[in-house]
């Protein structure tokens, strides 16, 4: 945090100091570094190691300036990135002092002596601070005639980060990032002098979820991403500000496109959300578009049972005929933009005349429905609250795996001021260890909640009956801040857009006549369905037993919901809006191709509820956003929803606004009785950040850094089954089984934890449920 930010945050008067830099006066808060004060005047001092979000290091010495305090000059030029301003300080940069200029030239000469200058094959060429500053600050002619230091190149720091050691200027940005920001001190500076180099600890590979940031902040081409290596030059690329589609953290991103193809993504700069960081999934998982076969033309299933390509009018007519006057439901999926979710929401109500719509393509419960529509929608907790929290409680939420930037934010406070963190996880994951989280077995262990405490609940809380109710009580009693952070980027937006059986857009309850009148008027329809609709699992059940005839499905993977979801669809008319061929398109009667994120504009809501708007990255794409297609479909069905474009939809959402009536009270549920386990163990699981998720397909380098799947059990349990760490165990339910190596850790003896969707451990597919009792034996 810079002193300016500190000033804003604490609102305590901070002493201001006036210094003279190159003859200009500037007044900055006490503690500001000279290099920052100079920036304020528009004076750029060359630098490599200095980074505003990292602690000063003074490692590269490129920023030398002449400094004089109270009339006494320092005997030698000083590193302006390590020296805070002081009263009566006079600074002379390279612009006014020949000493500083010469010092900087000298440093640059030293840096270049050991630099291979292989810019021609270096990915950084064209956007390289070393190139630029060698031009602005370096000597025009080289005096070096010796032999340059060389290293074997490149070495893999991980499967997705490569290191060319001779290009390194030893600025320690990468090591400081890993240590200070990510808490993964896996790369370090080894050796001394000319041989000094960045290295990895032999035993632990650099397995950080944030490693891509080191590539982004390396001021030279020493760290490069495997996937982007030699792919392009900056002048080939068109950069578009975008938002990340992977999770609800809501990172600002920059997407670099060359002729219709994403070549790389970088973290954008949004101090209120991701600062300047993002996670490796957001950075490198974009090949899912080119990985699977794209659906490019509409298709309908013919009498022969095969899908046949057809024209848009024909496909729309076919879909409309199958949906008109039928009992139909809508499964939206958790990855839609707000505008698309709104399209589905309006389509269900107006064209299908039903409230059977749900965005949750994952285990869910009625209690959760009630919590989402009555509580979650009105939460106002933000990242800022984490910054000033006196304690953070994580319930059904594993931040490093499920919302990595939230993790970074908590970790920042943990490392800065030892913020206490509680977690209800069954064992201490690596994320929990980094946060020093205290594990609690039940909510009664949470003490000292104040109005400054932040309680974060994840989507997995829906898997424990009564959990939301207990949290609700806890919050009501203590006044602590509550945040709901689902895993997927589309869920907060879909909730706000009313893609849920209990709510119309803007949080209007479907059961409230006034709310219905409100929305019906805005939509110019006579009336809206009055009763609460079915949830995802109820829709699937109803389809299976023919209580519903048809279903419209967005981007949903049936195996995220249950092992039977796909078979439940088989008897009904399925309209699938998809980008690529999938399990759903394989059984769909109509497949309508939709635009992927880079081909459309739109917005997500991050978990704070703030919009993350993005523009179309591929300007000439012909693919259409879901909402546009739903609008065509509704027209054909004779009950138009009038949402011809994304911008028109955004305008309608804005004009509809939020519900200001009285919200319905949260319906509490009672917690489950713990049933006798006998010899069985209670299964716990969550998804790892890098796993078999659909959107991570096609990127082998990223998959290479995924954490290996292993089953966690307690020591006593391991002894009982007779396995040692690393040996295989078999975990089985009535529906199937899976085998995993064991990792012994501190946890309750009646629990077992496995990753939910990793290689060799796809819990829903293999065992049939996410929460239940399993038999565990030595394999």
């Amino acid at each position: 945090m810079t002193p300016e930010q500190a000033l804003l945050e604490t609102e305590v008067a901070i002493e201001m100091i006036t210094v003279v830099i190159d003859g200009f006066e500037v007044t900055v808060p006490k503690g500001t570094l000279v290099i920052r004060a100079a920036e304020k005047l528009g004076i750029q001092i060359p630098r490599f190691c200095d980074h505003p979000l990292l602690k000063p290091a003074g490692a590269c010495r490129q920023c030398l300036v002449d400094i004089e305090i109270n009339g006494r000059a320092f005997p030698k030029p000083q590193a302006s990135c390590t020296i805070p301003v002081e009263n009566n300080m006079i600074v002379k940069t390279q612009l006014t002092s020949t000493v500083a200029e010469k010092a900087q030239e000298g440093i640059m000469e030293f840096l270049l002596i050991n630099h291979p200058l292989d810019c021609a094959v270096c990915d950084k060429g064209g956007e390289c601070p070393l190139q630029n500053q060698a031009m602005s600050t370096g000597r025009p002619e080289s005096r070096f005639e010796g032999v340059k230091r060389t290293f074997e190149k490149p070495i893999s720091i991980s499967s997705q980060v490569l290191l060319d050691r001779e290009r390194c200027v030893l600025c320690a940005r990468c090591t400081r990032f890993s240590e200070e920001i990510a808490g993964d001190p896996f790369i370090t500076l080894n050796e001394r002098g000319a041989l000094q180099q960045v290295g990895i600890y032999e035993k632990d590979p650099f397995e950080s979820y944030y490693s891509g940031n080191t590539v982004q902040i390396c001021p030279v081409g020493a760290l490069t991403g495997t996937s982007y290596r030699f792919r392009a030059r900056p002048f080939d690329l068109v950069s578009i500000d975008s938002a990340c589609e992977h999770c609800a953290s809501g990172c600002a991103m920059r997407t670099d496109i060359r002729r219709g193809k994403t070549l790389r993504r970088l973290a954008g700069d949004d101090p209120s959300v991701n600062e300047e960081w993002n996670c490796d999934k957001g950075r490198w998982a974009f090949k899912y578009l080119t990985n699977r076969e794209r659906v490019t033309t509409p298709m309908i299933r013919g009498a022969d049972g095969e899908l046949h390509e057809t024209s848009w009018p024909e496909a729309i007519a076919f879909a409309a005929a199958g949906l008109k006057d039928k009992r139909a439901g809508v499964l939206v999926g958790g990855r839609t933009t707000v505008e698309d979710a709104y399209g589905y929401s309006k389509f269900a109500r107006v064209a299908l005349g039903t409230n059977d719509i749900d965005f949750r393509a994952r285990p869910h419960s009625d209690e959760e429905t009630s919590f989402l529509s009555r509580v979650a929608l009105n939460l106002k907790t933000t990242y800022k609250d984490i910054d000033v929290a006196d304690q953070v409680v994580l319930l059904g939420f594993e931040p490093e795996e499920e919302s990595p930037i939230v993790f970074l934010r908590i970790y920042k406070q943990v490392s800065k001021r030892a913020l206490p963190v509680l977690s209800d996880a069954p064992f201490a994951s690596r994320g929990s260890e980094k946060l020093g989280a205290v594990l609690i077995s039940d909510l009664s262990k949470i003490a000292n909640l104040t109005t400054k405490s932040v309680v974060i609940v994840g989507e997995r809380l829906a898997e424990t009956r009564g959990a939301f109710s207990s949290v609700y009580e806890l919050i009501n009693k203590s006044g602590a801040k509550l945040a709901w952070i689902p895993r997927r980027s589309g869920e907060p937006g879909a909730l706000a857009a009313g893609a849920i059986p209990t709510l119309l857009p803007g949080g209007r309850p479907v059961t409230d006549p006034a709310a219905r009148v409100d929305v019906a008027a805005a939509w110019s329809v006579e009336s809206l369905p009055t009763s609460q609709g079915r949830s995802t699992s109820e829709i699937l059940l109803a389809l299976n037993v023919k209580n519903l005839d048809a279903v419209v499905i967005g981007g949903v993977d049936p195996l995220d919901i249950s092992s039977t979801a796909l078979t439940q669809l088989l008897n009904s008319f399925v309209v699938s809006l998809e980008i690529s061929h999938s399990a759903i398109t394989a059984v769909a009667d109509v497949v309508l191709p939709v635009a992927a994120v880079i081909e459309k504009s739109g917005s997500y809501l991050d978990w704070q509820g703030s919009p993350r708007v993005f523009e179309k990255a591929i300007a000439d794409s012909l693919s259409r956003s879901d909402v546009r297609i739903l609008s065509m479909l509704a027209d054909e069905m004779g009950s138009p929803i009038n949402l011809p474009t994304v911008s028109a939809t955004a305008r309608e959402i804005a004009s509809l606004g939020k519900w200001d009536g009285t919200p319905v009270a949260f319906e509490k549920s009672v917690s489950e009785k713990i049933t006798e386990l006998g010899e069985k163990l209670n299964l716990k699981s969550w998804r790892l950040l890098l796993d078999l998720g659909t959107l991570q397909g096609g990127e082998a380098n990223l998959a290479g850094t995924a954490r290996k799947a292993s089953a966690h059990i307690s020591k006593a349990r391991a002894e009982k089954i007779g396995v040692k760490s690393g040996e295989l165990i078999s975990i089985s339910s009535e529906l199937g089984s899976l085998e995993l190596p064991v990792e012994i850790c501190e946890m309750a003896d009646d629990l077992i934890w496995v990753p939910r969707n990793s290689i060799g451990s796809q819990v829903i597919a293999n065992l049939g449920f996410v929460n239940g009792q399993v038999k565990v034996i030595k394999a």
């Binding site: 021609a120 094959v121 060429g125 064209g126 190149k153 490149p154 290596r229 030699f230 792919r231 392009a232 030059r233 002048f235 080939d236």
Partner: protein, 199 residues
């Protein structure tokens, strides 16, 4: 201030044509003076001709002529181009498109790590300035004397890498193939790779 009058539609040409302007200097020259003119024509018949019967006969171009580009090879056939895109960057006409790629153990096209996978020059845009040749760090790109660059479609005038690559000398091997035994990309770059005999 006077009113501005609009310019006449015909720019005043009609009026000028109608005006009766006498044509002067029409007096005929003397016969002798006319003969002088024909004399120049006559003597030219006995001068050495500098034009040739193109395209049957072709004159060699001057040294340093800027003709069609060529992507050069090392003596053993490996490509010199490293796909760095510096030529594309230097080009004022945006005529060059390059995409780099990594050499692998199984498929090596150039010494070192990187090669040019896609290389196109659009001769509809190229102005033959030669800045690309100056930019090339490996001497991969040079210009030949070939100037016959005309065709009947736009796409034919976008030359691909295959069209631009230098022909293989005898003894050279078509990439992909490994670097010469015991040599590194540095040896190649220094030109220490002359006596390679691939068969």
């Amino acid at each position: 201030m006077t009113e501005l009058t609009p310019r006449p539609d015909d720019l005043g040409l009609t009026a000028a044509a109608k005006a009766n302007v006498p044509i002067e200097n029409q007096n005929a020259k003397s016969f002798f003076a006319q003969l002088q003119g024909f004399w120049v024509t006559f003597t030219t018949m006995f001068k050495k001709v500098t034009t040739v019967e193109y395209p049957e006969v072709k004159e060699p171009m001057a040294e340093g002529f800027h003709g069609r580009h060529q992507l050069n090879r090392y003596d053993d056939g490996l490509e010199k181009c490293i796909g760095c895109e510096l030529c594309a960057w230097a080009c004022p006409a945006d005529a060059i498109l390059v995409e780099g790629e990594s050499n692998t153990e199984d498929a090596r096209y150039s010494p070192g790590e990187r090669y040019g996978k896609v290389y196109q020059i659009n001769y509809l845009r190229c102005i033959f300035c030669g800045l690309c040749v100056e930019a090339c760090p490996t001497r991969a790109l040079t210009m030949t004397n070939e100037y016959e660059l005309a065709d009947d479609s736009r796409s034919k005038l976008i030359f691909e890498k295959e069209d631009l690559l230098a022909p293989l000398r005898s003894g050279a091997l078509k990439p992909p193939h490994p670097m010469a035994e015991g040599k590194t990309h540095i040896d190649y770059y220094r030109g220490d790779i002359t006596d390679i005999k691939n068969d």
